[in-house]
Symmetry: C2
Subunit: 450 residues, 2 copies
Amino acid sequence: MEPYGIALVGCGTVGSGVAKLLLEHPDRLAARAGRPLELRHIVVHDPAKPRDSCIPRNLLTTDLRSAINDPAVQTVVEVMGGIEQAKRVVLDTLAAGKHVVTANKALLATHGAELFDAGRRHDRAIAFEGAVAGGIPIIGALCQGLAANQILSLQGILNGTCNYILTGMTENGQRYADVLREAQQKGYAESDPTLDVDGTDAAHKLAILVQIAFGVAVPFDAIRRRGIAELDLLDVRFAKELGYTIKLLAEAWFEPSTRSQESGVRAEESGGKLALHVSPVMLRQNSPLALVRDAYNALFVLGDAVGSTLYYGRGAGQMPTASAVVADLIDMAVGRAQQTFRSLKLWSGNHRSIVVRDPNTMRTRFYLRMMVEDRPGAMADITRVLAEHHISISSVIQHEAIEHADEDTEIVPLIIMTHTAATGSFLAACAGIDRLACVRPPSVYFPVGD
Amino acid sequence: MEPYGIALVGCGTVGSGVAKLLLEHPDRLAARAGRPLELRHIVVHDPAKPRDSCIPRNLLTTDLRSAINDPAVQTVVEVMGGIEQAKRVVLDTLAAGKHVVTANKALLATHGAELFDAGRRHDRAIAFEGAVAGGIPIIGALCQGLAANQILSLQGILNGTCNYILTGMTENGQRYADVLREAQQKGYAESDPTLDVDGTDAAHKLAILVQIAFGVAVPFDAIRRRGIAELDLLDVRFAKELGYTIKLLAEAWFEPSTRSQESGVRAEESGGKLALHVSPVMLRQNSPLALVRDAYNALFVLGDAVGSTLYYGRGAGQMPTASAVVADLIDMAVGRAQQTFRSLKLWSGNHRSIVVRDPNTMRTRFYLRMMVEDRPGAMADITRVLAEHHISISSVIQHEAIEHADEDTEIVPLIIMTHTAATGSFLAACAGIDRLACVRPPSVYFPVGD
């Protein structure tokens, strides 16, 4: 059968992996795609740069336009990274009448609507299994396998760097800075890890998952996000003492509107509310997500028919991401990706009347750790502030302080676990506590998962 | 858009769930399928039987032929169960030019080749996401999401009944018979649980997964299978003491042929060996599959590009299985299922030169528990038999026996963990040990996972 022509734009870590799979396993891929997958061009900035030995020099080119316009090329793989230049490549590809496979989560989270509109206008498809959780086929699961369900919640460990750091802190008692350095040496963290550790990367992925699961295009800035930068080992230890593990989670919950429940109208037809955030969360030590270690990713999906399901694997890295990109290429060659693109109408603006909740209205239990002067009245002051904000206390830990000979007042950690409270009230209470004379701000808090 | 017509054959637990999803969520499903999914007939033996209130009486019919031949019906859902009658329904449906969705693992494991040949002959598709692991979309993952990979191994907890029983025995120290009764009361076990607890059900599912992952049609009887019927609590306790958990696993390992490795020819093009079995296996307590509790299923898939991935969820039950069946119906309405059917060429006999290994040649570590007379020479006799079969010992547990006043010889459990050994040699050694005068046969053994 006629080969299926492919151009690769970008040849960094993931791009080399894609080239490697395409070039080293032609028979395997041809069998699954029903025709040979032919890599025709690899577009790079600098063809002279040293590269993996599997990359044939004769495929390298700087001529993006010719690669896209090659009549034998049917799909262009965008793995160059970045946002604005990648967007240009995708729009030019669609305009040239070619399909797009991308693993660029930042691009989709930022410009999904514009790109998918362009795809529909040109009747070309965009596939992006590699954009979330590397090789774990969770885009496919949400688009196809779970398509009969109303998704009720998503909870994901979607950033391998953060999970690697948290695992080191939890299991080996390493400090944040030490385990970050180790992660950089092992290649699990970038030299500038900001977008990973501040929650931006996980929020990009959550924005994409929410679009598929709920049909809602959440403006990226509307996702409240907190990362794990400078997480204190003290809190990791207290979490452990309480039977919990701290994980950076990307979470979304769908709540059918009360009106529709009352009137018996089906929730998915009448809308509802969506809550979402990226945050360090305290999970019970034996819960499935708490057990996900090192640089692995996992996504917990609750559907109204299927119940709880979980997907687990390597969320990044050369070959896992290449596995997802080449799966998309097979789907394109078979013709499935085009049908999925047409039927799902992602980022089409025709979503149901789902409103995104103010994060301050989200209700959860909280872990609160304060550094407090060990003197009479401190506990009374703190608990009074909590009471004023209607936050009720579930449990308290204050370990006995070591009596020192000098006269300085001892500063001791005080941990309070709250009952369920609205986030806004809780944050107001925290601010009040941090203004108390007996407290050394800032106090540290995390939501507590079920 | 024109509705997509569906006939349901069978209206038991799963059938009612499918009807429920189709009838209660028409707008949701129409949005995802790109057209309304219209349930036109429900074929049953006895229309007068009391049924779930969601089943409209006017859809019930005993007239299979008219339902299949209704020109507005495009896909027939076979959820009647059993093998021979279901086979007839599927063949008749395909001959009538209609597609088939089935959740019948026994049917596919037994007659897959004949049914898929008929599908190809009539240019109609068969989809079967619900046949393995209920609502967990692992068929989709293997067929699409992981399509770029050579799968290297599959390890699955595929029978919820067994896992429920094993969880009760492990966590609560319940006896096999007691927890089986409890499982029956809760609806997790059939009144005749034979096919579940003897490993047949898991072997059916393994046969299907092996066909997708490796393209090999393993004759069902070639799968060595052991179940958990009458598992002794003693072994569950010893496993725990050793840091292991007993799980019923369906496993398959692919090994590229040595010749091809040496000559540098790619394994997937030159064949290899496949080993597979269903067996209780001792897993380290903290391994991902060991942590799967109750009636949940999970499948661990190792791919050469993606690495380790895991899929987890409810493996049976009304709505989880209906979730998978309706996902297949959406795939049919969109047109994807037909493309998958055509491109995968399952059960087509054109698989690569992969040979199924004699299970006796499989090498693993073993747990061996014997009931032994507590007298001089017993240990010497046993270890001599093991040495004769070249089985080396990794560790031994024999607890101190309580000295009794009477003169009867004490019978005590003796546990030996072996180093890696060929299964055939190990079984021969077991037979030899069971013939010793100091041993009360039969001795009990399990492979030990990594």
